[in-house]
Each structure stands twice: as structure tokens, then as C-alpha cells.
Point group: C3
Chain length 393, copies 3
């Protein structure tokens, strides 16, 4: 849920929407967590967490209400995880902090996927990975451009970071595309081939991700410095609180995810949505809610660097960190190992999303129409997935 | 046939090739239509119209001669429609005129396609849509670059408009690509899915087209103003004449199209051309003849903005306006509704054409080799379609 | 093996690695060929040539040792051919020299492919063509960026040449992609169609290559002049020696290739490598060794223009000159004519390689991470090919 930002600065510093208004935070000596909850309307949704657990105990078969409650419960938990990660990162300095952001930044998505992995729901795991990449690359980026563009005539942003993230995404897309393309002729590629290749590609993607961090945080960090490295507006939590929140909320997210995952399938068909739509669109929007508020807030403050960094950085993190980790972890948990062989439709969407992001960030300028165009690409995907007949994926 | 130009200025003002030389037009009080015909050699082809109707009455089975005559008859009618639309647009001011150009700009293509639609010839309709997009994007753009480049060492043009049109084309290509890609696994996608999706995508493309007009004519029109908004060299027709021509010639185009459509299949096989070649290449070259003279004339006057605007603007108009309108209209005329499910080969060609246009217009500069490269891509398509064995499409 | 460089300057002037250190060359009156061999460690591998011939006579069944020996024998022969071509080019002036470089530049690859063609091994011919394109575009370019980037913080290069070569590669990729895409629906495209189309496309690619030379050497040569047209550091061989080496070494390469081709299949399976891996990766790395030393040496001297020109120029030469020549020549030698119908996996790799090269050379700047990213794309291909189960291609 927390996001990767390559210069290692705590992103949500600039996003008062998700962490309460700073003037309140500075005034009194109240417990920072309670203060946060009091002043951030997003966190009022926390009430959905106990309601969900109670409902699950009372009516474990009521899939649709449980699914909806789980959606509402994940959003504030994600926001809390996000702030906790950032608070730790802020205290540990640029390099370690950047690394922390880069690894724990999508902790919510990781926990949800791990839960689905343990349940052997590989289709849901893969759909949620691909969906998070596509949603961050298109919806988060497009809506940022649109919101910013409605307020400012044109906006400019640092292309260097957009290029790095788009390059990493391009690498990940190739890693997912090539194995399918090269075995296309063979209708049933040897299972061993797919498994070996998936492990090899996962290691390669992790190395690529690591090199990207080395490049942007260490050897060429001056090229990435432009965006919002100025004074932070928000006071981070003390380390003790941050660690406690990190641990406690992770457990809560895991518990909520379990209900979410087991109710998703039935709820989808009850709500008239295809499985694919739930996996790609709903899970991704839920899991990314906290980052979206940050990205949109950046766009409205004419700091598009921030928005582009959050959207593409988070997509790259899921593609090059979360997905490979899941593959490697699947050898230890889960009924059988998971591979990187995605549904061809998902690969096409990821490829087109990456291409779109490359094209629109290439000029370093944007206006409202740029955002509208990107959002319409997302809408095409969402519409197709929504109408997709069952078993087409 | 008339083309979309985003600043709303009547394009053919600058293209004396298609509308006679202005010095003659200004001198006397003759009927402007007759004057036009007298001074524009292209319009001498109008003689083919009565000959075609006579021949069709006398020898309705002589498909090949009828087909050739119809080709020659459509070209001058298209030029007249073009001038009439522009004359109306010139009188109604920028906003309404821009909208008129944007909707009636490809009236000839629209009428031909509607005739084929009514005859239930969906393959021809789709081939002519895809062919017009590919021909405008590659042949018209490439030949403009080549002709301009043979006269001038290097040429520059405003990239903003090229980017907008390429972006719209990219959106349309994704709309045609995604449904096929996502149902690929399913050999027979539910017909209902394809039909619902086609309607949804058509509405989305029309909205996208409308937003593009809003952006380029209204909110950010200053970015698009560079190209030829200066004094017009040509006197538009009076409104009465313009409307009369618009109505009368549209009827003639419809009648000619009917003969064209019913003779095309037989003529193609008599002439040794594949159906695909006729649909993609011949129809598109015939339908676009008037615009091409404008685009080439612009290139020879070192006004590449104009040529690029005509070529890509017209392609975008067909993809985002003509095609969706045909889908929606097919619910009212035509034996069964038409969908947006194109032959995969057509989608690949549109995607590659869009990609090529993006790449070559990206730098805002061109030389003769740029044009040669684009034309060679078109030649690859044409050669493949020409040699394509029957039933491969 | 010698490479195309568009301004016609002898490339390896700047690459002392492959032709000995100039200070030695200038000092004494020794036979230039012997001097070259004495001072260039790469040429010490020439000893593998007689050893290979002896081994082949003594143990013609020992495929694996013969294969390894042939690999070691080709590398120094390629370096000699390279120097000989350059020496002739240097004496004949810019235009003829440029043409010579452009046609004989990949003589080693051509001779290997012709040998495989005569043996009817079309799969190996095609794999080695596709492999050379991918290896030059990704490995040679990526390693140049990486090596240069490890020495210099950032590097700049002339984008014009990179764009021209990427454009030509893009054209070639479309020529290979479209015929497959358009006959996809037809499971068994008429053999006559494929053969006619292959001849047509081959002629078109040769014309495109010729136009590219005309553009870069003649009409717009000033745009390509920036890179290394200054004083040459190396003394070319006398014409007599150059021609003798050209003739003699070509015969040797042909003889070695024969052993290489006939042992490749068996050796691959003995060494546990897939056929695809040998064809795509091993042959391409062997055939390109001499050019690679030039490209890497250019990068280390901060002359990236040179490296990019060698890598992309060589790939374009193989795609637009070597491959079409092989198709046309196959009508005269070889059991049956060869077509341009490549394995879809190969086309995908060429397309992605071209796209990657376009994206990373677009900005005209590079750092070590650019190289790492490109190399990782190559690694994905190599890893997939290595693990590919037999008969998947």
C-alpha cells in the first residue's frame, strides 16, 4: 500500500488527505495514532474491521455482504500501513528508508496475494498482480493527469523518473510475454520448463529491481532529486508506535484478506460481475486506495512528479518485487509452486498499459486530455473484463 | 472526404489543386460550381457519373467495367463534397465549422460504408474502415513526407497535433485489439458479449473523439494554432449552393456506391486481385483521393502541419467517428447489427500503422527518407494483401 | 563481420583492440599481416583452424570437440575479414568504401548462413539471422552502454544514426511479422503465397537498405558526420594483401562453417543446450565477436556514436541485406527455395529487440543502468531459449 519513491523521501508528506491535516497534528500531545484517526476521514472506515469479524462469525455464508465489508475494511488498514512504513523510513535515513519504502510499499497487496496463494487461488493471485499493475499505470496516472489538468492549464514533470519506472515495467512485461510467445506453438509446454523459467525470471526481475534502486537512490540520485525533496509537512510517528502499527495492522490485513479471498468468488457472481473484473479491477482499486489519495493530492498541488512517481513506481514495485517474491515464496507455502505464466489477455493489457504510460510520460508535459486518454484506455479494459463471459480467461 | 482539421480552419483553402486556381475564381461572375468544374481537371472526371449510370442500365452484369467506372466517378464527387462541406464550415465560424468538418469530413467513406452495410457486406465495410485508417496513416503521410522531402532538404512541423491524432488512433486501436485479445482463448466468444462490447466501445470512442475536439478547438486551441490559420486564398461558395451540392452529391455518391459495392467482388476476381486488396487498398485510395491532393499540395508548399493534420486527422476521424457511427446505425439499417470484431490481420495492420505514425512524427522533423520508410511499410501491407490467398482473411 | 557505418569511415580505426596497437604497427617494415597476428591476441586463436581441420579428418564423428574448435576458429577469421574489408574500403574513398562496408560488413555471418543453406538447414539459417539481429541489438548495444556507463557517469551520442538504423530494423521486423499475422487464420498458407511474398519482400528490403545508404552517405550525409570522422589511428593494409586475405579467409570461413554446421545439432544436444539456444545465441555471439570488440572499445573511449552505429548498423545490415540476399540466392543453391517465414517466437524477439533499441536510444543519453536494462532483456531471451523444451520452436 505504501509506495516506492525513488529519491527515498516519504511520499505522503505531501498528501495531507491520507494522514490528517498537519496543523492539528502539531498542536497537542494526544496519541498520534488516535489523532490520525480523528482527523483523517478515510480512517473512520476502520469501524468496518470489527463489524466484518463479527459478521463473519455470525453469518459465514453471507458472501456478498462479507465481501463488501472486507473491501471497506482494507482501505483504512492500507492507509495505516502506509503511514507506519513511512514513519520508519523517515527515521532511518535516505538509503535504508528508500529500501524500506521499496520493499514494504505494497505490503497490503502482498498480504492479500499471500492469503490467496495459501488458499491455492492462483488465478486470483495472478489477476490481482496484473490488475494492480494495470490500475496503477492507467487509472492512477490517468486520474492524476485529469485532476491536475482540470486545475492547471498544462503541467510539467521530471521525465527521468517516469522513464526509469517505465523501463522497469517494460522489462517485467517482456519477462511475462516471452515465455508465452516462445511456447505458443507448443500447446502444452512442459510443466518443468515453465517452473524453471519462472524461478529464473523471478530472480532476474528482483535483480533488475535492485539495480533500479541502486541507480536511483545511489549512483545517479541527483537526476531524481527534483521532486518534492523539500521540507516535510507532517510529523512521523515515533518508532515504537510505527513498528506496533506495522505488526498489528499486517495481522489485521491478513485476517481481513482471508475473508475477502474466500468470499470473492461467490460475491462476484452474486453481484453480476465476472471473476476477471473482480480480480483485475475491484481488488486493485481497493488495494491501491491509499496511494491514490496521495497521487491525486500531488496532482492537485501541481506536483506531478509525485503523482507519476507513485503511480509508475508502485506498478513497477508490484511487477518486479511483489510478483517474483510470490513465485519464490510459493515453494514454501501454498499447495503447489506458482509460475509466472499469465493469462495472455493479462499480458496484453500489461503490455498496452506500459506502452501507454511510456508514450504519455515521454514529453514531460500533460494537460487534462492526456489524463482522459489514459483513463479511456483503462475504461476499455474494465468494460471488456466486465462483459467477459465466464471461462474466457 | 473532407477532412478534420483541429483548428477548424477550412483545410482546402491552401490546396489550390483540388478547387481551381483562385485568380480565375475572383475575376468573373460565372456560377461558382461551373467555374470550379472548368478550372479543376479532377472534376472533369464527373463525366464518368452519367456514363456509369447508363452502362449500369445497359449492361448490369459487366462488373469489371462498372467497377472501374465507379472508381472514376467517386473521385470528383468526393472533391465536390469536400468543397461544399468547407464552404459551409467557412461561413459558420470556427466552432461550428470545426464540428462540421469533424463530422462530415469523411462523408464519402461514410456513404460507401453505409451502402455496403445495407447490403449486409460487413467484410467490405470493415475492410474499408481499416483500409482507410491504414492508407491515410501510411500512404498519405508517407507520400507527403516524400514529396515535401524531394523539394526541401528537411521540413519541420508542429508535433502537438500529430501527437493528439496519434493518441486518438492509439485509443481506437486498443479498442479493436483488446476484445480479440481477451477472448482469444475462447474460440467462439458468445455473440452477445461481442455485440454488447461493440456498442459500449463505440460510445466510448465517440466520447473520446468529442473530448479531442473539445481539447483542440476549445480548451487548448492555442497549442494547435500554428498551422495555416492565415488568410484563405479561396472564395467559399454561397450557402445555398453549398447546401444544394451537399445534398445532391451525397445522393449521387450513394447511387454510385451501390454499383461500386455490388460489382466489387466480381470485378476483384476478374482483375486477379484478392478481395482483401480491393477492400483495403483500392477503396481507400479512391475514397481518399480528394484529401490526398490537399495533403500533397501542403507538403509541396512546405506546410507539413497541414499534411500531417489531414492524414492523421482523417484516419482518427474514421476510427473514432465513422466506425462507431456505423456500428450504432447498423441497429437500424442492415440485416443484423454489425460489431467491432475485426479480422486480426486488420488489427495488426492498424496497430503497426499507428506505431509507425507515432515514431516518425515524434521528432517534428522529416526528410525524404522518412517518407520512403513509411511508404515501404504501406507497400509491405499492400503486397501481402495482393498476394493473399482467398479466404485467409 | 565488418560493420556498416553510415558515414563510410572505417570503423575499426578507433578499435585498437581488434587490430593491434598502432604504435607497433607504425614502427617497422614487417609484413603487416604477421605484425597484426603478432600484436593482436585475438588472432592467436588462428591456431584453432589447422587443429580443426586435422581433427575433422581424424575423428569426423566427434561432434562436440569439432563444434567447440570451430567456434574458436571462426572468431579470428572474422577479425581478419573485418580488417581486410576495411583496408579496401579505406583506399577506395568514402562512397565506394561505405558501400563495401555495407555489403561485406557481415561477410562471416553470410558465409556461415550460405553453408547452412546449401546443407538445407533452413531452421539454422533463420535462427542465425534472427539471433544475429537480436544479439547485436541487445547484447552488443547493452554491453556497450554498460561498459561505457561504468567508466563515465553519463554519455551522449548522436541520435540521428540510431534513429535511421532503428527505422530500418522496424521496417524489416514488419516485413517478417505481417505475412505471419495475415495468414494466421489460415493454418496452412499456400506455399506459393509464402514463396512469392518472400521474394517480393526481399526485393523491397534490399531497396530500403539501398535508400538508407543513399540517404546517409549521399543526400543527408552531413547529419551523420559527427561520429569519429577525425584522423584514423591505424594504417590500412596494402590493396594486394587485403584482397588476398579477403579471398583466402573467405574460403577458410566457408570450410570451417561446413564443419560448424554439420556438428552443431549433435553438439548442442551433447552439451545440454537446445537447438534454439545454439542457433540464436552461440552462433550470433561467435559471428559477432570482432564487431563487439570494436563496439566495446568505442564505448570505453566515450565514443558511443561508434558503438551504437556498430550495434544497430550491423543488425540492420543482417535484416535488410544478408537475409534478403539469402532468400534470393536460395533459388540458385540449396535443395529448395528458402522463404522469409520465421518462427513466431523469433519474430516476437526481433520486434521486442527493435522496440527496446528505439526506446533506449531515443533520448541520446545513457548511463550504466540503460545498459543493464537492455542486457536483462537479452538475458530473458537467452534464458527462455536455453530452457526451451525441444520442438517448441
Amino acid at each position: 500500500m505504501k509506495i516506492l519513491f525513488v529519491d527515498g523521501s516519504p511520499l505522503c508528506d505531501h498528501a495531507d488527505l491520507c494522514y490528517g491535516r498537519p496543523e492539528f497534528v502539531r498542536d497537542d500531545g494526544m496519541n498520534p495514532l488516535l489523532k490520525e484517526i480523528r482527523h483523517n476521514p478515510l480512517l473512520w472506515l476502520l469501524v468496518a474491521v470489527p463489524v466484518l469479524f463479527a459478521a463473519h462469525r455470525l453469518a459465514p455464508e453471507a458472501d456478498t455482504p462479507l465481501f463488501v465489508l472486507a473491501v471497506f475494511a482494507i482501505v483504512p488498514l492500507a492507509a495505516l500501513l502506509s503511514h507506519a512504513t513511512e514513519s520508519v523510513a523517515a527515521k532511518t535515513g535516505d538509503a535504508v528508508g528508500g529500501l524500506l519504502n521499496a520493499t514494504l510499499g505494497n505490503l497490503t497487496e502482498l498480504v492479500i496475494a499471500l492469503t490467496a496463494l495459501r488458499a491455492g487461488q492462483y488465478t486470483l493471485v495472478k489477476a490481482s498482480i496484473a490488475g494492480a499493475i494495470v490500475t496503477n499505470t492507467l487509472f492512477m496516472l490517468g486520474a492524476s493527469f485529469l485532476l491536475g489538468g482540470l486545475k492547471y492549464h498544462t503541467q510539467e514533470f521530471n521525465r527521468i523518473n517516469a522513464r526509469l519506472q517505465a523501463g522497469l515495467l517494460f522489462l517485467a512485461t517482456i519477462a511475462l510475454l516471452v515465455p508465452s510467445a516462445l511456447t505458443q506453438a507448443d500447446s502444452a509446454p512442459a510443466a518443468a520448463f515453465t517452473r524453471h523459467l519462472s524461478v529464473g525470471l523471478s530472480v532476474l526481475l528482483l535483480v533488475g529491481y535492485g539495480l533500479g534502486l541502486l541507480f536511483s537512490l545511489k549512483t545517479h540520485s541527483e537526476m531524481f532529486a527534483s521532486a518534492g525533496s523539500d521540507a516535510s509537512e507532517e510529523i512521523p510517528w515515533p518508532m515504537g508506535l510505527a513498528f506496533a502499527v506495522l505488526a498489528g495492522v499486517t495481522v489485521l490485513v491478513a485476517l481481513v484478506s482471508e475473508i475477502f479471498v474466500e468470499s470473492a468468488q461467490q460475491a462476484a457472481s452474486d453481484l453480476g460481475m465476472s471473476q476477471a473484473f473482480v480480480g483485475f479491477i475491484v481488488v486493485a482499486l481497493v488495494g491501491g486506495a491509499a496511494e491514490m489519495t496521495s497521487a491525486f493530492s500531488g496532482a492537485l498541488k501541481n506536483r506531478l512528479d509525485l503523482s507519476v512517481g507513485i503511480a509508475l513506481g508502485s506498478a513497477a514495485q508490484i511487477a518486479l518485487f511483489v510478483a517474483p517474491v510470490l513465485v519464490l515464496v510459493s515453494y514454501f507455502i501454498g499447495p503447489t509452486p506458482m509460475d509466472l505464466h499469465f493469462w495472455p489477455g493479462a499480458v496484453v493489457m500489461m503490455l498496452l498499459a506500459t506502452l501507454t504510460a511510456s508514450l504519455v510520460t515521454n514529453s514531460g508535459r500533460s494537460a487534462w486530455f492526456t489524463g482522459a486518454l489514459v483513463l479511456m484506455v483503462y475504461l476499455i479494459f474494465a468494460m471488456t473484463l466486465y462483459l467477459l463471459p465466464p471461462r474466457a480467461q
